[in-house]
């Protein structure tokens, strides 16, 4: 076993240890054991950082990959298959190393931050325990080398998300939100599970490596459509977890959880797991599946952005922003901009965590006021928060010199290239939506910054009944809740909450990733995470001829990035496919086109972003356009956005109500029809029995009784003879003798 593997397993198990200790002993430990959680995560981060350093910095090899597995379930010598084992294992490649470091870092920072944010909560210890199990599950997803393990941790992440969203379970809305989150995830999970099953049913293994090798070797016996279906179904897992359309509805509601949790789970890590998973399965996605993914991502990005511009809750804006950004990542994967999408995952994780933690700081300082309409003028009171929040906002909006700029542009460039390669037309919708969303992002983030940090303090504007309600809702968990909280001084948060903000903001700057602020492709990340070679070469024969592939020389020039993995795949699977299969060529083309579109994307996106920010300034700073009047002017659109495109209502009316209707119908069916039949049969049998009984009593018993009656009557008659007088008997005896005598004599005579 490689020492890195050993270390990674230690990293994986450390948060679990934290969970086990804290869930059982938090009440016996000083400070409810928060130092333990932070310490353990610190250790984990230290080890992860070492792994990151060894893999990325020292080795610096795009094809780096080590794996180790063990037999978890041994099914013995299965008839028809042979020896069959289900294995569990760990794989470390560049992506894993980066994710490992990212997850542990953000988790560590969130742990640290939470010691301030959650201080005084009555379930303080349990909170850290839950953070521990979440981190464990998330690391599990990152490290897994097979579908089964990833599914397990996938669900466990769902559980930790459930537990943490519902951390303030006394609140009805929190309880609703946690259930909604879990169920929405489950819907995605069944798709993912079916996808896994399709692959397993063909190869009898869950391992990524073996499945890809088998696919590359063309051993997939089912039709090509099944493979596309498998890809789309697996993507459904991502739809659930990464809150893509149409399962995005749970993520905004998940903001009911504590804000650090939102930062860790619902911004940086868990929701990114979906994207990470799609990246893991990227090689088996057929072009058709990729199209579905691309459109889903684009639609999600656009839809969430339109919703975000009208939300008033500071966290909800960020939540929809997260959905939108996740849409970008998914879009990126869909269009084949693999590296860019993952790059965005990483950069987004940091700046979005920073934003959430910043918003948490604001909420904390504002005593659990979340509505931006009642904020304002926090710039001076919370300078640290303001600075970091702004930096992260710039990254999110995608202004140059930030990390977000590089990654987002890489995605958009990929999208343009994709549209070009696919032949334009409707495919241009994807980059268009992407750019439009970029503008909206800039707008709503500008709006947020302005509403929160600039202008006048509007705390006093809040309607009284609203306040009361709000206060009541938070009273259960807010140790700091003060009846006169508007009079309370708003001040900067303590160091343990400030430090994470600073670190995360620092990680939102371009030079961390690339020396060239305009091109992420020159940075270490894009170099270390090359687009892997696809394993679905079969498409060559079906649709390859329909579109003219680009010339082979052009290909050779743009595919250095995919050469190494392709060679590796060939080594493993003994791939018979020709190196220039359609899917491969398509991928190479897209990468090539993406590179070509790089500067186009930069220009367009910069313009859009500036447009968006300007619009925000026009509306909120210069007040040239009155937002309220505009809202009235375009009221249907405004309401459409404010009500989140009515998805909740639609789902409630269809799926929830529908399910309940079916449930009630079936339950009625069960008690009245099925059980009714049973009882009916029982009644029938009983009635038959009654009939039978009547028959029995009147006919059968009647006959019996008749016999008895006859005998009785005869007996009664004979009884007269039974006088008890001996003489009577003698008379009869003698009569009999005489009778015999006469009989005898007659016999004698004749």
């Amino acid at each position: 076993m490689h020492s890195l593997i050993q270390l990674s397993i230690v990293v994986l198990l450390l948060p679990l240890l934290s969970f086990v200790i804290l869930i059982f002993f938090n009440r016996r430990l000083p400070r409810r054991g928060d130092f333990l959680g932070v310490g353990i995560l610190g250790t984990a981060f230290g080890i992860s950082a070492y792994i990151f350093w060894s893999v990325i910095v020292q080795t610096y090899d795009p094809a780096f990959r080590i794996a180790w597995d063990f037999t978890w379930i041994d099914l013995g010598n299965v008839p028809g298959v042979g020896p069959l084992q289900i294995k569990m294992g760990v794989v470390i490649d560049n992506l894993t190393a980066i994710m490992l470091a990212m997850v542990t870092l953000i988790s560590l920072l969130v742990h640290l931050y939470s010691t301030g944010y959650m201080a005084g909560d009555k379930n303080y210890g349990r909170y850290f325990a839950f953070l521990g199990i979440f981190t464990f599950s998330m690391l599990g997803i990152v490290l897994s080398d097979n579908f089964f393990a990833i599914y397990i941790f996938w669900e466990l992440v769902g559980l930790s998300s459930y537990l943490l969203i519902g951390f303030f379970f006394e609140k009805q809305s929190a309880a609703d939100a946690q259930k909604k989150a879990f169920l929405a995830n489950r819907v995605g999970d069944i798709g993912m599970w079916l996808g896994i099953l399709i692959l397993y049913s063909q190869f009898h293994t869950f391992s990524f490596e073996q499945i890809y090798a088998n696919l590359a070797a063309g051993k997939f016996a089912l039709s090509h459509g099944w493979l596309t279906a498998a890809g789309i179904l697996l993507f459904m897992g991502c739809v659930g977890k990464s809150a893509q359309f149409p399962l995005h509805v749970w993520l905004p509601d998940a903001m009911e959880g504590p804000t650090p949790v939102s930062a860790l789970i619902h911004a940086a890590t868990m929701v990114a797991a979906g994207v990470y998973f799609v990246a893991r399965i990227f090689v088996l996605l057929t072009p058709d599946a990729l199209h579905v993914i691309a459109f889903t991502g684009a639609l999600t990005a656009f839809m969430a952005a339109t919703i975000a511009i009208t939300q008033n809750d500071i966290k909800r804006v960020l939540a929809y922003s997260t959905v939108s950004q996740l849409g970008y990542m998914v879009l990126g994967l869909g269009v084949g901009a693999y590296s860019a999408a993952l790059f965005h995952l990483l950069t987004h994780a940091f700046f979005k965590a920073c934003l959430f933690l910043g918003s948490g700081a604001i909420i904390h300082a504002m005593h659990h006021e979340q509505d931006m309409r009642w904020m304002g003028a926090l710039r001076k009171k919370m300078p640290w928060t303001f600075a970091t929040f702004t930096l992260a906002t710039l990254a999110l909006a995608g202004l140059p010199l930030t990390s977000g700029f590089m990654s987002k542009d890489a995605i958009l460039a990929g999208a343009i290239g994709f549209a070009k390669v696919e032949g334009g037309g409707i495919y241009y919708l994807i980059p268009v939506l992407g750019f439009f969303s970029a503008m909206l992002t800039a707008f709503y983030m500008g709006r947020q910054i302005w509403l929160v940090f600039f202008g006048e303090s509007r705390t006093h504007l809040k309607p009284a009944d609203d306040q009361h309600q709000d206060h009541h809702a938070h009273a259960a968990h807010d140790a700091h809740a003060d009846v006169h909280h508007e009079e309370h001084e708003v001040h900067e948060v303590a160091w343990n909450m400030r430090a994470p903000l600073v670190i995360l903001a620092a990680l939102s700057v371009f030079f961390v990733y690339s020396p060239d602020p305009l091109d992420g492709g020159k940075g270490w990340f894009m170099k270390m995470i090359p687009t892997p070679a696809t394993v679905v070469g079969e498409a060559n024969h079906q649709i390859g001829d329909l579109r003219a592939p680009v010339a082979a020389p052009a290909l050779a020039a743009v595919v250095p990035a995919i050469e190494a993995p392709a060679a590796e795949a060939g080594k493993h699977g003994g791939a018979e496919k020709d190196a220039h299969s359609y899917a491969d060529m398509r991928q190479a083309e897209i990468i090539h086109a993406g590179h070509a579109a790089h500067f186009t994307a930069i220009y367009i996106s910069s313009i859009m972003v500036l447009l968006g920010i300007s619009l925000a300034f026009v509306v909120y700073v210069f007040n040239i356009i009155d937002p309220e009047k505009t809202a009235i002017a375009i009221r249907p659109l405004y309401l459409f956005s404010l009500n989140k495109w009515y998805w909740d209502e639609i789902y409630d009316a269809t799926f929830i109500k529908g399910s309940m209707l079916i449930a009630n119908i079936l339950s009625w069916f069960d008690t009245h029809i099925v059980d009714g039949i049973v009882n009916g049969v029982a009644t029938l049998v009983r009635n038959f029995a009654l009939l039978n009984d009547a028959f029995d009593r009147n006919v059968v018993d009647g006959m019996v009784n008749f016999t008895a009656f006859t005998i009785n009557t005869t007996g009664a008659m004979l009884r007269k003879l039974q006088t008890g007088k001996v003489q009577t008997y003698i008379v009869m005896l003698l009569l009999a003798v005489f009778g015999y005598f006469v009989f005898y004599l007659t016999r004698l005579i004749y």
């Binding site: 007088k725 003489q727 009577t728 008379v731 003698l734 005598f741 004698l748």
Partner: protein, 170 residues
Amino acid sequence: MSITTYTVIFYLFAAITVCSAAFVVFTRNVIYSAFSLLFTFFGVAALYVFLSADFIAVTQVVVYVGGILVLLLFGVMFTNSIMQTGQKSEVLHIFSGMLLLIGMIGALLYTFYTTHSWMPSETTLQGSIVERIGFETMSRYVLPFEMVSILLLAALIGAAFLARFDKSGK
């Protein structure tokens, strides 16, 4: 004694026997029955003599007339006060009784007279048989004899026991 005298005497005794027996049965008075029975027993004893069984005849007289009849008279007197006028014995089943009486006698007589012709064997009992009875009793019939003696003894003791007046009862 001529054969005619012999026959006449036989018929006389036969008549006495049958008529007295009929009287025993048909009279209502128990006392009359008892006395009438005396004649029957005598008649039967006489018939025994005709049948060369003089010893039996004597025994008949001794036992029946001396024993049984006295016993019966005692019984009558024990159970009925002799002065009582209602010494009449009730009857029942008179119809079937008569039917059977006539039918039975008729049938028997019919059988005796029509279906069988009795053939006397060459040797008949002649003269006194007392000696032979003694001989037979002590040889061939010694076991029945002894058993009957014991039975008689037991019966007599039992009868005495049964018929004794209960001292404690009264």
